[in-house]
Symmetry: C2
Subunit: 440 residues, 2 copies
């Protein structure tokens, strides 16, 4: 027996191992998480370990072990009696990313179950839960048995993380948030996947955003994150596909909770901006292929388009809204979503072609209008946000509207007019819109 096999390392020994850039032995990270959850390991010790892990990024094997330890800190759902594998989609977050709202019922309408557990907006990025809650009465809170029952019955449910799912992630994320240890790819991977795997899914499609409005600013960073997510998800026995998609400009024509939900409903009506529609269809295709519901791209696209055009996706969305306590009339009459009476217009000060729209500028302005939160405890205003009049490549004349600012009070809008106008670049000549999907 070598000295290192003699005993389980003490908390300080675990910290020193990672501090010195050494690999943990198998089992050590599991013990670290278990002792953190039993309060044997203190918050100040976990935060020191997180800072050490920031400086010496976890290996694949360590990331895998951390993910599973966080997953098994709580309940792991099991969906019984489903005919096809359960699939979910996860986006790493962006501005105007309302894709999940139409995507989940669309995929479920083809017969592929979608048990979706989402998050809230933080900083300049929005969150699916806040968007769904813009529907009057809609509840994102369900017990695990309620959630499983709805997935079994409708094929789709969209809720928030419960207390019992991956509680270690919740406690560890709260520490990372206040200790400057968020921006570590292995820690991000473990956080995302421990929550997603707790849903009881068989497969996962990842939408890794890249660009100035995304967490990952460069393609190489986005690829690193995508690869790390794939490796860890596969290591946990899940099928996985990832797309890397552009997040330089906002997605679609809306930013803000009720505004984005309205746009998602338009997609389910077969309308809406083409970029939102295209990304929704593309992600749906990947989900069907991953679930084995279709064996070719063409077959998957056909199934998805049929579920959209024959109204099954919209109908399923309506059923989900009703099942989760929401006012189902918004589905046919989106004007019933909470809204601001007189949005403030932002006009173009020159004529030309929209060459660029800065997602970060508009995302931050949207938070300032009340649509998002800088801190987890902030309240959001469902009506607040920004509606765009144009997208990249559109022609504008001087005086034309570029956008409208929606807020509870005019006083919130006034200081943002110039900011938002500054987010638009108007150029001369033609501008071609670039493809959203930049890699996989």
């Amino acid at each position: 027996m070598s000295p290192s096999e003699k005993h389980a390392p003490s908390p300080v020994e675990l910290l020193v191992t990672k501090r010195d850039g050494k690999r943990h032995r198998p089992g050590d990270i599991t013990r670290l998480v278990e002792s953190f959850m039993s309060k044997e390991l203190a918050d100040y010790q976990m935060s020191a370990w997180l800072m050490a892990a920031f400086h010496h990024p976890l290996t694949s094997a360590e990331t895998q072990e951390l993910t599973l330890a966080m997953l098994h800190s709580g309940t792991v759902l099991e969906h019984k009696g489903l005919k096809l594998p359960a699939v979910d989609k996860h986006s790493t977050g962006g501005v105007g990313d309302k894709i999940s709202i139409a995507l989940a019922p669309l995929v479920a309408a083809t017969g592929v179950p979608v048990p979706m557990i989402s998050g809230r907006g933080l900083g300049h990025t929005g969150g699916t839960l806040d968007k769904l809650e813009a529907i009057p009465g809609f509840s994102v809170v369900q017990s695990e048995p309620q959630f499983c029952a709805q997935v079994r019955k409708l094929g789709v449910a969209m809720i928030g993380q419960t207390e019992r799912l991956a509680p270690a992630d919740r406690r560890i994320y709260a520490l990372r948030d206040v200790t400057g240890t968020v921006e570590s790819i292995p820690l991000i991977v473990a956080s995302i996947l421990s929550k997603k795997l707790a849903e009881g899914i068989d497969a996962l499609v990842l939408d890794v955003k890249v660009g100035r409005g995304a967490f990952m600013k460069t393609l190489s960073d986005a690829r690193r994150l995508a690869r790390a997510l794939e490796t860890t998800a596969r290591g946990a026995g899940k099928r996985v596909t990832s797309l890397i998609t552009r997040m330089d400009a906002p997605l679609g024509l809306t930013i803000g909770n009720a505004l984005e939900t309205r746009e998602a409903i338009e997609i389910l009506h077969g309308k809406g901006p083409s970029d939102v529609r295209q990304l929704t269809l593309r992600l749906a295709r990947e989900m069907l292929l991953l679930a084995g519901a279709s064996s070719t791209v063409a077959a998957a696209d056909k199934q998805v388009l049929r579920a959209l055009s024959d109204g099954r996706a919209l109908e399923l969305f309506a059923k989900m809204v009703r099942a989760q306590g929401g006012d189902v009339r918004v589905v046919t009459d989106p004007k019933r979503l909470p809204r601001v009476k007189s949005p403030l217009v932002v006009n173009a000060t020159c004529s030309g072609t929209v060459a660029d729209i800065d997602a970060m500028v508009l995302g931050r302005a949207s938070v300032a209008l009340g649509a998002g939160r800088w801190r987890a405890e902030d309240k959001v205003d469902p009506r607040a946000g920004i509606e765009l009049a144009v997208q990249i490549g559109d022609r504008v004349e001087k005086g034309d509207p570029l956008a409208w600012l929606h807020a509870s009070k005019r006083v919130l809008c006034d200081p943002l007019v110039e900011t938002v106008r500054g987010g638009f670049v108007i150029g001369s000549g033609k501008v071609k819109r670039q493809s959203l999907v930049v890699g996989s």
Copy 2:
């Protein structure tokens, strides 16, 4: 106004600055410590900052600011009415290092005030407070006014850190101890000096130990620590001298609290092992020179030797023991110190010359006998420890005693006989003892 001047950085911004290896702006570390003390900055944030500072060592200016911020977290003593500058000595810790006990009264007997605040033993290294407490009744607890009054009256007092002196160091050290962030030179410097400067001293002599029984294992590390301590102490306006001294073998012939106090009293009687005597005299010389009590080495040595040989040092020690509630009879009759009835002898298994004695092996064995603590909350047995029969260079015959083990129970000694014997290297031929002072 540049963006970085707009506001005081938030706690997370401070953490991210150090995490990314950037320098803090002047004032930032002061705010960090202040907000930690006011509980605005949580323990888990401070521990993450400490781990970041471990990876990106503080600059001289940052170390200076941290030291002063920790110093000013509490009371800074001022000694009034002293004729000469107040001087203290600090050792970075070793095995058998009982120097302070004879040194403080010896220097004070020459007229140089010594307000000494010491620590307890931890791990294989001993602590002056534990050694002094081996004297029945001796109290190391005093209020700041009591301490100052005794320094004014006797010229010397030896106590433990009070609640009010450098409380930030106490809280930060407690975190470092359990988060694997002890071994950082700038953090060590700030911890040592914030406590020492709180004593109200004008000058400080540093005994930086190097070798296998010391915290610093190599001469270059010891030099780095010595230079950092000097730079920071000078920056705080203090006179400072440092010696780098060997800590491969135990100092003197005793390890353990009552045993070491007995040896220190022998030094004050003009006896005791030559290495202990020589290091005591050398450090006393440096303290007198630093205080300006003597202007030459020869004058300083003369003053010190006179105070030792005419009994003034011993007399002052007796006064201090009495003033601090201790049984003064131990000064003339050291057998009154608590002791074990039948120590267990460790014999030499071959004849030859003692070529080496491993301070770390004997230091750890001494803790196992009950003389020290592995954790701060452990109790020490004043009687426990190891008495050496020989030092490096001594001739031994097979069967001669090498050492005696002192413990409350025989059962504690038995498993350590072979360990302690293994700490001695018996060779053939002559071995010359090396000089203790290896640098300055």
